[in-house]
Symmetry: C2
Subunit: 210 residues, 2 copies
Amino acid sequence: MDHAIPDIVIGRLPVYLRELERMVRDAGKTTTSSHELAERLGMSSAQIRKDFSHFGEFGKQGTGYHIHYLIDRLTEILNLTHEWPVALVGAGFLGHALASYRGFQRRGFVITCVFDNDPTKIGKTIGDLVVQDAATLETTLPARGIAVAILAVPADAAQETVDRLVAAGVRAILSYAPVSLTVPPGVHVSYSDPVVQLQQMAYYLSPTIP
Amino acid sequence: MDHAIPDIVIGRLPVYLRELERMVRDAGKTTTSSHELAERLGMSSAQIRKDFSHFGEFGKQGTGYHIHYLIDRLTEILNLTHEWPVALVGAGFLGHALASYRGFQRRGFVITCVFDNDPTKIGKTIGDLVVQDAATLETTLPARGIAVAILAVPADAAQETVDRLVAAGVRAILSYAPVSLTVPPGVHVSYSDPVVQLQQMAYYLSPTIP
DNA sequence: TAGATTGTTAATCGATTAACAATC
DNA sequence: TAGATTGTTAATCGATTAACAATC
């Protein structure tokens, strides 16, 4: 390909998709414009049009965009035309919350198996999933063709677990462990550390409060 | 101030801080260099030095940085020299997981009160916190001088809850609701939507797998 | 000292925005 | 048609990187 599409653009597509689906669900809208979408998302309309222009022409001058058509295009671009099976590693409090969250399935990801290495957790059920021994990760994941994993293990176990997930064929990892991870080229990691986010915002708070 | 420090720089400071603390804890290191820190974080050493240079001179030519000194400077810059009390709104699965997470307190944030509007949840305890009626939010938060909130309510309730939090004096909100929120100037929102992160990574996965 | 590393400058790279012809 | 909005270009803005003098 001539030049790759910037990651920062790719990162906005799911936000566009989410907002468009909301516009259909809440307001029953069928068309929109870059201005309307931009206002709802707190960004510039030019940025939205520029982002879309990387992938083709999705709108019509004078009338804007058909929301359903736009949703279909974004769904295709993001490879969301089929469900992705997801492995969840870590069955603690956070693992339970994630396994119980209905939003994954609704938006294209199905948590298919749960692993932990704690003998007191192995064999227990979460919803309709049985917690498997993390030792079986290397055989289960390739057998099920799982490419996506969610990491909800303690920081100290994170890198080792990542290495094993990668060896098992996982190529996208959403990590909740508060630590920077190392992965080989071609494997993607996305981080979620609530404290990092809070600390960033704390910078902007007056130091004299409370 | 002459020119504000870019938000993207502020966003990296907590990551530096986290890694430095890990270097002390795990390896007992006392000094480091921009090269070592950069390698551990998968970024360039020039970027780290440039980021630090916005705030002063923290290192010594030839020898690098004293980790403890650097940790103290970053802690000051980020307004983390005292603990921040945090309100948690939403006592579902995710709210429980967040309330049970020890990492908040350890890194400067203390969940001080929990709210929900579900009568079956109000009065129940999570750890040593009693779930309060969300209707009491407007009186409790100002009384306790709480400026930081974590939002773990359904998407449909999110904007209304944000409006009330802002009215109650909250100026930093970490939202787990899968929806874009609107806040007045001076209020900061940070988003965490795992599906958005997974969808972004799905772009890079071969569409033929599984 | 010799080697190492910082802080900073200038160059490069990349992303955002403004503006507008095209056109529905 | 007149009004609205797209897609795109060029300009602007901002962030990253390379390089190196300063200096520990």
